[in-house]
């Protein structure tokens, strides 16, 4: 894992003290709310329905046990005993008092974490693949370039006042688990025919009010030129992105209105202006220093299979089910990737109590080289667990209600905080996720349905990724009452697509029935081996719509 150097430490410590002064001046009335609001947002502090909300960055979703324990400590000391893991691999606290936040941030800085650039019109936390460094077939660990981008984009003076927020995601694997095509910039680590590593750069993806799949602007940017290329993209956006209308200010609108070809030409022209001799690129020694932090841990030489693991699987059916859904093959023989679902049946997607967070920290320390990950689907991952230890990990997780065997199934829904917490929301989203998972609680039924990504947003800003759900649900407000609109056929992976709206919206009382009708329609229509999304792509909207709106 990356460790702060003296500059990182000073940067974060200085910011905490600066914010402490700003909060004190706000409290004593010498700063107005208008003056203070942008300052608090720059430190990840929002005002929500019931209280302030603090969003803490988890760079590319990687955490150590020590950091995880601090997240639990903060939940206990400054919040109400829990945290909420988000679709951007961050954690949010829903109840901190403004007066306490400087102390909170000070404690957080003690474990090399912060809330800088988790809000505002700047480059936000860089997100990545939760299986980084653990999955077979990776071109390169995506966290190396993610960390370089993090350092480059932190307090970058030229990009601290963008037309709108800016999100970058990176994958090093052909299977995209980071939704890179739904980001302002999505980066795929690639190799050219000479075997050199470089980057495929996608620009202008995003969700919200006007969703777009990113356009691939470059097939292969050589490694040494990536930061300069990103700089060129940012410059074009900074110059031409709209500042007159916040709904049209994201780079996706610029790419859409400019056109892919012209956008590519503009970026290349800007890139050509950068003097090659002064091009920002990392010295080899610095590159190696950062890469070394992400070197594989000291794996033991183990056989590819484990008798202990196989015996436990044969003896314990519940364990076997959990392995089937939540455990993924590791690149290193004798190891496994273990996913921890934060979607218990009837639970709140992404919420974890302080004791659960501590429990996962302990398990990561004992069994996963002191490392864990947060996924954009609001779950956690233990990246490097010995097959011999998987049963012990399972037992420890199960003792804390953390062994729900539902990864990728219908009850593993993404949901934004919605109107239960969020000041922007039009409707609640969490109760829907709870009702759907309760309706489909039966595991045999879930296994029969297979992979089905349900994604629920409480407003058009789409934090719950509804545009890219196999079944997407959007909450809307009609005269103070909640309604829910359904879309079908979205996907966030390498086959990214945007869902199609089925038609008129449903009430809170009828939305779960509607989801069940869609599932039944799929089961009737599917051919052997087809997932929901495959069937939808083959048969289209008509059969679903027909059943959904049948009188």
């Amino acid at each position: 894992m990356y460790r702060y150097d003296e500059f990182d430490h000073k940067l974060v410590a200085d910011r905490v003290e600066q914010f402490r002064g700003q909060v004190a001046r706000r409290m004593d009335g010498s700063l107005s709310e208008d003056a203070f609001k942008p300052l608090r947002l720059m430190n990840g502090v929002y005002l929500q329905l019931h209280a302030y909300m603090l969003r803490v960055a988890i760079p590319y979703g990687t955490l150590s046990s020590k950091q995880m324990r601090m997240l639990a400590h903060i939940a206990r000391k400054y919040d109400r005993g829990y945290g909420h893991f988000t679709t951007r691999q961050n954690i949010q606290y829903n109840w901190p008092a403004l007066k306490d936040i400087p102390d909170l941030l000070d404690e957080l800085a003690g474990v090399e974490m912060h809330a800088i650039q988790t809000s505002g019109n700047c480059i936000r936390n860089v997100t990545s693949d939760q299986y980084a460094g653990a999955i077979d077939g990776e071109v390169e660990d995506p966290r190396i370039i993610s960390e370089i981008i993090r350092q480059w984009s932190t307090f970058h003076p030229e990009f601290s006042y963008l037309p709108r927020k800016f999100k970058i995601a990176v994958t090093g694997h052909e299977n995209d688990r980071a939704a890179i095509k739904l980001h302002d910039i999505g980066i795929v680590i690639a190799q050219n025919q000479a075997g050199e590593t470089g980057y495929e750069v996608h620009v202008g993806g995003g969700q919200g009010r006007t969703p777009f799949i990113a356009k691939k602007l470059a097939d292969f940017v050589p490694a040494a030129q990536l930061l300069a290329y990103l700089e060129a993209v940012m410059r074009v956006y900074n110059m031409l992105g709209r500042r007159d209308n916040s709904y049209k200010a994201r780079i996706k609108i610029l790419v859409h209105e400019t056109g892919e070809e012209e956008m590519r030409r503009l970026v290349e022209a800007e890139f050509a202006k950068i003097d090659a001799s002064q091009m920002l690129s990392l010295p080899q020694a610095e590159l190696e220093r950062i890469a070394a932090y992400f070197a594989p841990p000291a794996f033991a030489e183990l056989p590819a299979t484990s008798d202990k693991f196989e015996a436990a699987r044969a003896e314990d059916a519940a364990f076997a089910h959990w392995v089937k859904t939540n455990v993924v093959a590791h690149k290193q023989p004798g190891y496994a990737i273990v996913n921890i679902s934060l979607k218990p049946i009837g639970g709140v997607p992404g919420d974890a109590s302080d004791t659960q967070i501590d429990c996962v920290a302990d398990i990561a320390e004992q069994y996963s080289f002191d490392e864990l990950r947060v996924t954009h689907e609001q779950n956690l991952t233990l990246p490097h667990v010995r097959l011999d230890d998987v049963k012990a990990v399972y037992d420890a997780l199960a003792a804390h209600d953390l062994a729900t065997p539902n990864l990728g199934l219908i009850s593993d829904a993404i949901a934004c905080p919605g109107l239960d917490y969020c000041n922007l929301a039009n409707a609640r989203s969490i109760p829907l996720a709870q009702d759907i998972s309760t309706r489909f609680a039966d595991l045999d039924r879930q296994y029969d349905i297979g992979e089905l990504k349900v994604k629920i947003s409480g407003c058009i800003n789409a934090c719950g990724h509804h545009h890219v759900g196999h079944i997407g649900i959007l909450g809307v407000d009609k005269k103070g009452t909640e309604f829910y609109q359904i879309s079908l056929g979205g996907a966030a992976d390498e086959t990214a697509s945007l869902g199609d709206i089925t038609g008129r919206a449903f009430t809170e009382d009828t939305i779960v029935d509607a989801v069940e009708i869609l599932v039944e329609t799929y089961l009737d229509q599917r051919q052997t081996g087809e997932r929901f999304i495959d069937t939808y792509r083959r048969v289209g909207m008509a059969p679903f719509k027909e059943r959904l709106y049948a009188e």
Partner: protein
């Protein structure tokens, strides 16, 4: 600021969030701010509502309460009032998914 009252709403109250901790507060008839919705002053008619909001928003308001605004309430037969929208109902009580949190938790244990 979004609109929190229907056009021509008969009854309205004023709410905001407390600066120090973000707690939802309501403007009361005695000119103070209270945490409980039941303590909110209710204005009948548009003019009274505007006057109530003006009273709740003096120049030094920023010292303790953020962004006061009017929201619609409905009168019940027993003479009490309830927030009209789901949003304001949730603000007055707490998250619907966590009855142990927010104002509803205190009301429950009281």
């Amino acid at each position: 600021m979004a609109q929190h009252s229907a056009k021509g709403a008969q009854f309205q109250a004023v709410t905001g969030n407390r600066l120090v901790d973000g707690e939802v507060v309501y403007f009361t008839a005695s000119g103070a701010w209270a945490e409980a919705f039941d303590a909110a002053a209710i204005a009948e008619g548009g003019e009274a509502a505007d006057a109530l909001l003006a009273q709740a928003s003096p120049a030094d308001i920023e010292a303790h309460v953020l962004d006061p605004y009017l929201f619609e309430v409905i009168a019940l037969d027993d003479g009490s009032y309830l927030p009209a929208s789901v949003r304001e109902t949730i603000r007055a009580k707490g998250p619907t998914i966590r009855p142990d949190l927010g104002k509803q938790a205190a009301q429950e244990s009281a």
